[in-house]
Subunit: 210 residues, 2 copies
């Protein structure tokens, strides 16, 4: 059964500019999550967005530009700041924020671009300048530096290695399991890896979860 839009000989309906742009941005993020970067295609994005290829080429010179544009508009902005609690609870919250970041709808697209680092360094650089640099993403680094400034941590222990422990373990967990770490695992990361590196010795009993 064919339903015709009034007056439309083609049966076609035309959308507004803003509608087309929003549909394309959403479609490219979903498409790259499903296909990976290597099989991302303008035809696939147009199909998913329900637009013509010409509508894409009128706004973006390539599907890569559309992808970066979509990420600029959709990637979550970090809001982690030390909340006046203590070091441990602030570290836990920053890992929670990181996990939120890594689980955002944009995360597969970010991962897809990062996976192309050797082949497309230009894209990765653009990702950092157009998405990461404008959206923050310092997580545990922000917290550790804050407490170091307050004198609660020996500032000499705040090294590039140490501020990276938490994120490294979260990402490794995701690589190994395909899942983001639970609250229990995040607590273990804080208690068993981050705090010991800041001279808060590990407590080798059961340990208390959040």
């Amino acid at each position: 059964m064919v339903v015709m839009v009034a007056g439309a000989a083609h049966g076609r309906s035309r959308r507004s500019l803003a509608d087309v742009v929003d549909a394309c941005r959403a479609a490219v993020l979903a498409e790259v999550a499903e296909t990976g970067f290597g099989r991302l295609a303008v035809e696939g994005v147009a199909r998913r967005a329900g637009v013509a290829k010409t509508s894409i080429y009128r706004h973006w010179p390539s599907v890569e530009e559309l992808l970066l544009d979509a990420l600029s508009h959709a990637h979550p902005v970090e809001v982690a700041t030390p909340g006046g609690g203590n070091l441990r609870s602030d570290l836990l919250r920053s890992l929670e924020q990181l996990v939120g970041w890594l689980g955002a709808p944009t995360a597969p697209a970010v991962a897809a671009i990062l996976n192309e680092r050797q082949r497309r360094p230009d894209l990765v650089e653009a990702l950092y300048t157009r998405v990461f640099d404008t959206h923050g993403g310092r997580f545990t680094r922000t917290v550790i530096e804050h407490y170091a400034e307050r004198g609660e941590i020996d500032a000499r222990l705040v090294t590039p290695i140490v501020v990276d422990i938490g994120e490294a373990l979260v990402i490794k967990h995701q690589i190994d399991t395909g899942q983001l770490p639970s609250a229990e695992v995040r607590a273990a990361i804080v208690d068993q890896a981050i705090l010991p590196a800041l001279c808060f010795p590990p407590v080798p009993d059961e340990g208390n979860s959040t």
Copy 2:
């Protein structure tokens, strides 16, 4: 100028079975490193190996099977065992082995498959059972468990999180920079992150490198 192989009307030369198999295995590893998994194609592998597509399809049902077969034969085998040194030097050597693993010619192929975890869990599972499980790859875990058995480390501190710190930081370094960590960075990882988690407190001065 056309050079004809004696007696070959086609100008073609025919290789032995072993030669074809070796060429295909090497070609698929190089091809996937260059193209990524998404654009890996039988035609590209055949071209690079200098064989006909039919020669590939006679031995492997798909390019994925060829890739896993190639990895099974080429992936380095872990030889890290505690060498009778001390904990620190053994940890340094295990990270050196890991970096050797990650820098092996097979590493891009491994990464390409791991990047397809969401889309192709079957391939990732096959990677673990056919490649990882048979080639080891426990690195710092092996060292830490050895010293725990000897009583030099509180065994209660040897948790899944703690044994993963070193590899997590190495992999994070590679994700962030595209490079494998230098000896200096590896030493910092051992001194500032792994040892503190095992109750060997960090030394917040310059610290001695390897």
